[in-house]
Symmetry: C2
Subunit: 340 residues, 2 copies
Amino acid sequence: MSSPKDITIYDIAKELHISAATVSRGLNDHPAIKKQTREKIHETARRMGYQQNIFASNLRKQKTNTIGVIIPHLNSYFTSTVIAGIEKVANQSGYNLIISQSLESVRKERSNVDTMFNSRVDGLLVSLASDTEGFDHFEFILQKKIPLIFFDRVVEAPNCSSITINNFQAGYSATQHLLDQRCRRIVHVAGNLRSSVYDGRHSGYKQALQDFGLDYDSALVLFPDLRDPDPGRTAHDILAMDTLPDGLFCVSDTQAAAIMSELRRAGVKVPQQIAVVGFNNDLLSRVVEPALTTVYYPGQEMGEVAARTLIRKLNQEEEHQPNNIVIEHRLIERESSLRN
Amino acid sequence: MSSPKDITIYDIAKELHISAATVSRGLNDHPAIKKQTREKIHETARRMGYQQNIFASNLRKQKTNTIGVIIPHLNSYFTSTVIAGIEKVANQSGYNLIISQSLESVRKERSNVDTMFNSRVDGLLVSLASDTEGFDHFEFILQKKIPLIFFDRVVEAPNCSSITINNFQAGYSATQHLLDQRCRRIVHVAGNLRSSVYDGRHSGYKQALQDFGLDYDSALVLFPDLRDPDPGRTAHDILAMDTLPDGLFCVSDTQAAAIMSELRRAGVKVPQQIAVVGFNNDLLSRVVEPALTTVYYPGQEMGEVAARTLIRKLNQEEEHQPNNIVIEHRLIERESSLRN
DNA sequence: TTGAAAGCGCTAACAA
DNA sequence: TTGTTAGCGCTTTCAA
């Protein structure tokens, strides 16, 4: 774990002919310690190369100053901005992070929760795997009174706050945008409807059609496997439809971009024949051709809000009224859907 | 940190009328414990909802079973495959991970190293920020005898193994490929030359030109800020050149894709007028149009090898002969550079 | 303003 | 095969 002999507070105490308790207080800037003593302690600690032993401290304090973060995938622009936001707030408040990915699998998620628990995280920030159903693998976390907050992909749970966008509204306005562009046969490339975000977007799609007086046609809703997406097949499915659709609303930019690229390879004109809307404002949405219309929502802010909410709860700053915080989203119109 | 009263080995011991030491041994499957006792211990532990207190264990064992990983950015396909590889091997061997990003800044990297040290990681896996020069902020890690291994973006350091690809060769063959495609005026969009990977790729580019009998022209080598890339400006710089180049070798796919998209927007034909080669085989390299020729190297494997090497060292399985492991790379030819 | 002392939960040397 | 015991390094109560 480290070199033969680490410096402890006892070494400092001996050096200064004071007690270890005083050294401990001095290092933690306890107000009862004389300023002069405190400074001497700090200086000696620095000189001797002292490093606190967090384990001893944690063991004693019954607190780890660590926040666990469980996310479906590291591998996206959105996720990495969320984490940057969490990290920023956490570091400001003296918390460390343990991050792990569920890779969209409940099984892995379950084991992640266990690991987090064993690491005695003070609190947990979770965005669910897309095939997670139910809440049972979090029950014991709540029983142990470990604060738990969901973000983005959430689940209704007693006593848990959540940070989301209004996915229904986002799906609604994405679809409405396509309708405004004179699309009448709109394919929705959906995600697992067990997942709150995909369910919301799908419902929004449905409602927008209905409000426009169009029938919902389940043949137009596709469910590719998000864990192992094969945009080639999805594109193929679309091309094989009796009547080609004229609009495409995908739950992610990566899906949208990949499918769009396949469609164009097959000679389909975007947006003239098929207008395309993605989701997330991923980096690639600006790079593909045509640039993707997409729904933007601020990952960094979502991360910051989630972390701040958790830390407030950890500090008991307020009665833990669990509440649902909704972050703003925005449709960004680009060439992939503009037909005028 | 958890509910009022956690179950400890003493509770189990009392329940079974045996000693805490026996419980500890039983839980750790110590061979000296009778099978029957061991099973009884495990079962009681499960029944009572026992969870090990890692801090007490770490404190006692002077070992954390944790590996620290410092990387420039979470936000790329390559990085996330590397981490998946590290995670796989680490979990198999019972190690946990602490991950943090330097965001391409030495300052943040330095503080990450400190945090890792304070968390008493058993070993450290590092890919350097692009502006890192020198090695001083790792000195104390080595002094404390914490095994340190670099991967991808490495630095010459005493007693440290490293896992890389041959960036010189990769840069060489990317450039050679462009020369084969009849490019004679090849722009290199480089990275900070302090960084091993970018330096290697740049040298390879240089050497390939020279071997082909072309002069190296520093006006053709651009250095965009990787932390805040503005491909618009880089593209603009290229378009403003007296003679337009006919080839483009970028140190990353994201750069290549973004610049290519700008160039095409300005009416440049790719690959006919300018052939483009990227690096990393990022997800987007297959999605952009035309698909990007790129250099592939296996992130997952790099991660696995790095983790395996570190764990071997931690287990002292072999004399720590520091060595340089080189992973294979491969040029993937796609439409963005094929002019025939 | 400081010190003495107990104990957080676990592991391992030594003893039986 | 199991138990006794000490101690990892720190914080905090109580006392001075």
